[in-house]
């Protein structure tokens, strides 16, 4: 017993010394001119100054890692067994000292008892901040079935992730299509399907549960977008179907048999016929409002026989004027991006009103399973396209959401493995040109390797969503859904 007592402090001391020794720069490293290959790829990326540490690991594996990060006279080091994990306070000091500049990252890796010093790479620190929180749904990238679903919020300035609502709390139903009013964390809506079904609108801590299927619309409200006033939500109503391909290059096709665009008045709980685009001759879907609230953007394609013509449906991006005082749209349609050989979807206007970002794909409006899907952007002042090749990859890029300052976007991409959608953050310069996107940093960079969920509908919000998950649960379980009317 006495022996154990003597050994214990020695073991602690040895562990401490080992820790210190491991945190020192290797002195016998062999330098190379090659850049290291790391995951996530943070080489030469532009990041906001308020982002969490960019932990990473070398893709070839290593017995030990050591990294030195320096810029403007500040140098910090980070170490790990097979990855590099940066201490948060030191990272913050480094970024604060390097706003608008670049930091240099020098990586050392140890393999087979030999240290190697890799060529340094740069990380550019923007002096523009990104909205502090990212809200996303974690869901298996399933085909026709969901199982475990949750909407989470992640503090981008740290690694803190909290659930907003989990389907395990509300009967394992499907929770989807969360959207915020201009990135305001206190104004949120989402749907639940199956058990406790309904559309949930959260404003100023109050939760409304709504039944949104009316006699005048073909379905429940589907793909939503808030009006900047918080008084309206435009959504599509869709009859959605899917089928499965037989050949190796394609998996699933999701298509609408019919779809319309409507505007829901949050105050009167009415779907406004005078602000809705309902037509049997056209498919209208994925609407959004301009940041000034004066335009209603949507995707539009001539209706056709489905699924026979699934690969011939091409959507244009259109807009109509919206009068928020009257709750009406004009009948004059302005086609912003006309579908010719390609199809366009997910229109999103930058908060400063200058750019229209959208997704381009060969056909249809649901590009998540289309490898060819890419992000495109048009300058609304000049109506000129902007080169977005720096943002895209050979795999699917689909959903996107702007940060409130219009300097950052989050983009859904399958570039990592072609199946799981992950959120990539991307700088948008003053000229509209994108930087190299970087994967949302995680405390454990291996987390993505083992994660069996996709990040669905990543939405940037300006602060923490403070509605208590148990309040949403109680509303779901105990509240009767109020019937929305069609006026």
């Amino acid at each position: 017993m006495k022996k154990i007592k003597t050994i214990y402090p020695l073991v602690l001391l040895a562990a401490l010394l080992f820790g210190i020794a491991c945190n020192e720069r290797p002195t016998t490293a062999t330098p190379t001119n090659e850049l290291p290959t790391i995951f996530p790829d943070y080489t030469e990326v532009t990041i906001p100054y308020n982002i969490a540490p960019l932990n990473f690991h070398p893709t070839e594996g290593a017995e030990r890692c050591y990294a030195e990060l320096s810029g403007n006279g500040v140098t910090i080091s980070a170490t790990g067994k097979d990855d590099v994990r940066i201490e948060e306070k030191e990272w913050r000091t480094l970024l604060d000292a390097n706003r608008g500049a670049s930091i240099s990252v020098k990586l050392y890796t140890k393999s087979q008892d030999k240290w190697q010093e890799w060529a340094p790479f740069n990380v550019h620190i923007s002096d523009k901040d990104i909205d502090s929180h990212l809200v996303y749904r974690l869901i298996e990238p399933g085909y026709e079935k969901w199982h475990i679903v949750g909407i989470y919020q992640r503090n981008l300035e740290s690694f803190e992730e909290k659930p907003i609502i989990l389907n395990s709390m509300v009967g394992y139903n499907c929770i989807n299509c969360h959207t915020f009013c201009g990135g305001d964390p206190s104004q949120l809506m989402f749907h639940m399907r199956a058990a406790n079904g309904g559309t949930y609108v959260v404003q100023d801590g109050q939760i409304e549960k709504l039944n949104t299927k009316t006699d005048g619309t073909i379905s429940n409200l589907t793909y939503p977008y808030w009006h900047p006033s918080g008084n309206y939500i435009t959504t599509s109503v869709n009859t959605i179907h899917q089928f499965f391909h037989a050949t190796r290059d394609k998996k699933i096709e999701v298509f609408d048999l019919r779809s319309d665009v409507v505007v829901y008045d949050v105050r009167s709980k009415e779907i406004l016929s005078k602000a809705s685009i309902i037509s049997e001759d056209n498919f209208e879907t994925f609407p959004s409002f301009s940041p000034d609230g004066k335009w209603l953007y949507y995707c539009n394609a001539p209706a056709t026989e489905m699924p026979d013509n699934y690969d011939k449906v091409r959507y244009s991006l259109c807009r109509v004027a919206f009068d928020a005082d009257k709750g009406e749209i004009s009948s004059e349609v302005d086609t912003i991006v006309k579908a010719d050989s390609l199809s366009y979807t997910f229109p999103r206007i930058s908060p400063n009103g200058r750019y229209l970002m959208y997704t381009e794909t060969a056909y249809g409006q649901f590009p998540i399973w289309h490898k060819d899907a890419e992000i495109r952007m048009v300058d609304l002042e000049s109506r000129q396209s902007i080169d977005m090749s720096a943002m895209n990859s050979p795999e699917t890029e689909s959903y996107h959401s702007w940060s409130s300052g219009s300097d950052w976007v989050v983009v859904s991409s399958r570039r990592d493995n072609s199946l799981y959608t992950l959120p990539y953050l991307c700088y948008i310069g003053a000229d509209g040109k994108p930087g190299k996107p970087f994967l949302l940093p995680q405390e454990d960079p291996e987390m993505y390797d083992y994660l069996l969920y996709s990040f669905n509908i990543p939405e940037l919000v300006t602060g923490e969503v403070d509605i208590n998950p148990y309040e949403i649960q109680q509303a779901a379980l105990n509240k009767e859904a109020e019937q929305v009317s069609f006026k």
Binding site: W146, F244, A246, N417, L419, Y470
Partner: protein
């Protein structure tokens, strides 16, 4: 001597438990193993540490890895039953109940009678009951209460709902042995309050999960009554025995012992004989399929018969794997589409079957899709066996990055780690292309897109595969079996037409003979190389059919397609979009 008796009873009970599990439920536990996936990653450990009762789930997954192998489930469950029963006996003794081990082992028979989908509930008892016994061994009140409080709190986080059982046992002990009503009330109240505190401080989870965790029963369905009983019976039995007192109904030691042994033996033998696993056959075939022992499935089904659709699908799949689908057609019950392909592809064994059949016929996309659904749809959202299929299918479709992801995940699962690592070289496209099974699957894959789903559009989906690749033997056999079992000779002739001049199996030749008899065409017999012996035998049957009763016809022609055509019941048409 009495002590020896107790030991013998305990050992006999454990032996009986082991036998029961090995004989009746070995394949059940082997089947459930594939719905758990212990991982060696720190993330997996942390995830379990940060949910109530998570360590029970962690241990369950770890131990269940062994259930794939013979005897492992039997040994583990026998050991658990032994530990729990022994501890309960000690607990009873501490409560002043001087009863033989037979009483103490009685509640553990419920573990045998109500098998659950994992052993998490057994591990929960293995925490609660021995801890309760240990609690009673501490004589100093204050030390006992302090340790009890710490243990109660700790096991909530590590092994909930073991805390609830432990609290009840503590309450029972304090009431019976010490008349400490306050301590009993405090233990019960704390165990009831703790989940409420935890769900507001540490976790965001539903109340059910806060109280009983999500590991001992499927959180998406109602909590099984059997589990309530299994948990509550220990404290209730302790109280009941205390109330009854130590009165013995059989005074003679000799007879008492004899009756005890007899009761134990009768109970265990009755369990072994009467409590059989009704799904034993499909689970056994599932296990044999995982080991690639297709011949054994065929042998077993032909020797013992087939008891349900899932077993029939496995039998047909085994016939396909062994190249006997046509030759053994008349030896297999023909029950229509759902004997070839499962009715609902989203759940458990049917999902596995769907992936297996699709893989066999070359519909790689469906094999992949159903494997994916099987993985995400399973209770823990993992299914290592279907993840293996995902690795295989993604290598076939050339999607190496996602194949690598699943390889990495499987490498963290010790039971399949070596297999996963052996797949790594195939991530190199050149190696994959030069690997026989990959090349073969790629060769047989459809190249012309279609919208036919294997489940809703059978046989069109299989027909489309053959249109692209007529040499896809497995797909052809499935297609022809389908039309022949529904006695659709006209479509059969359409499908067999491209194979004119080839050596066709006897079954197909017999079907062609039938067609020839209904629509005589001198060219047909020659065009299809019909064996004269087969034709002559059919001609004899045709001539004598009016003079034969069914029994004679079966004796003489029971192995022929035309016998099936005439006397076999036509299966119910499938609920499909055909």
């Amino acid at each position: 001597m009495k002590r020896d008796n107790n030991l013998i009873i305990l050992l006999l009970f454990m032996l009986g438990c082991g036998l029961f599990v090995e004989l009746n439920f070995r394949y059940w536990y082997a089947f459930m193993e594939q719905y758990m996936m212990f991982q060696t990653t720190s993330d997996y450990l942390v995830r379990h540490l940060t949910e109530p009762g998570g360590m029970v789930g962690y241990l369950t997954d770890f131990i269940s890895m062994g259930f794939y192998y013979p005897l492992c489930a039997a040994l583990v469950i026998a050991l658990i039953a032994g530990i729990v029963s022994y501890s309960f006996h000690r607990f009873l003794k501490a409560c002043g109940v001087e009863r033989s081990m037979l009483i103490a082992v009685a509640p553990a028979t419920l573990l045998l009678l109500f098998p659950q989908e994992s052993i998490a509930h057994m591990l929960t008892l293995t925490v609660a009951i021995p801890l309760a016994a240990a609690y009673t061994a501490i004589k100093n009140d204050k030390i006992r209460w302090s340790i009890g409080f710490i243990a109660l709190t700790a096991i909530y986080f590590l092994a909930a709902p073991a805390n609830l059982i432990f609290a009840l046992m503590v309450a029972v002990y304090e009431l019976i042995a010490h008349r400490r009503y306050g301590v009993a009330a405090a233990a019960t109240a704390w165990s009831a309050l703790l989940p409420l505190l935890a769900m507001n401080i540490f976790y965001t989870i539903p109340m059910r999960e806060a109280y009983i965790g999500k590991h001992i029963a499927h959180p998406e369905v109602a909590f099984p009554t059997a589990l309530w009983v299994m948990g509550a019976i220990y404290p209730i039995l302790a109280v009941a025995l205390r109330l009854i007192g130590n009165k013995r109904f059989i005074v003679s030691d000799k007879w008492h012992t004899r009756v005890e042994y007899s009761a134990l033996a009768i109970t265990l033998i009755a369990c072994i004989i009467f409590k059989v696993d009704l799904m034993g056959q499909p689970y056994m075939y599932d296990h044999l399929a995982r080991e690639g022992k297709w011949e054994k499935i065929v042998e077993h089904s032909q020797r013992y018969g087939i008891r349900d659709f899932d077993a029939l699908i496995y039998t047909n799949l085994a016939l396909s794997h062994t190249g006997r689908m046509a030759t053994d057609f008349t030896r297999t019950p023909q029950l229509g589409l759902y004997g070839l392909y499962p009715r609902d592809t989203k759940y458990y064994i049917q999902n596995i079957l769907s992936s297996e059949v699709s893989w066999q016929v070359g519909h790689v996309n469906t094999a992949q899709r159903t494997a994916f659904i099987g993985t995400l749809g399973s209770r823990r959202s993992v299914q290592p066996r279907m993840m293996k299929r995902l690795v295989e299918t993604y290598i076939v479709t050339g999607e190496m990055a996602v194949a690598e992801k699943f390889i990495k995940v499987l490498e963290s699962y010790p039971r399949l780690s070596a297999w996963a690592s052996s797949m790594r070289p195939l991530l190199n496209e050149e190696v994959a292309a030069a690997t026989d099974w990959v090349a073969e699957k790629r060769r047989l894959m459809p190249v012309t897109d279609n919208l036919y789903d294997m489940q809703n559009s059978f046989p069109k989906s299989v027909e489309a595969i053959i249109m692209d690749c007529p040499e896809n033997k497995a797909a052809l056999e499935y297609l022809l079996s389908f039309v022949l079992m529904y006695k659709d000779i006209n479509n059969f002739m359409g499908y067999i037409e491209p194979y004119k001049g080839q050596n066709l199996p006897k079954l197909y030749q017999e079907a062609i003979c039938v067609y020839q008899a209904t629509k005589p065409d001198e060219q047909i017999l020659e065009a299809y190389n019909i064996d004269p012996k087969i034709w002559n035998r059919f001609a004899n049957y045709d001539r004598n059919i009016q003079m034969m009763n069914a029994e004679t016809a079966y004796k003489m022609y029971g192995d022929t397609y035309y016998y099936y055509l005439q006397y076999g019941a036509t299966p119910e048409p499938p609920e499909t979009n055909n």
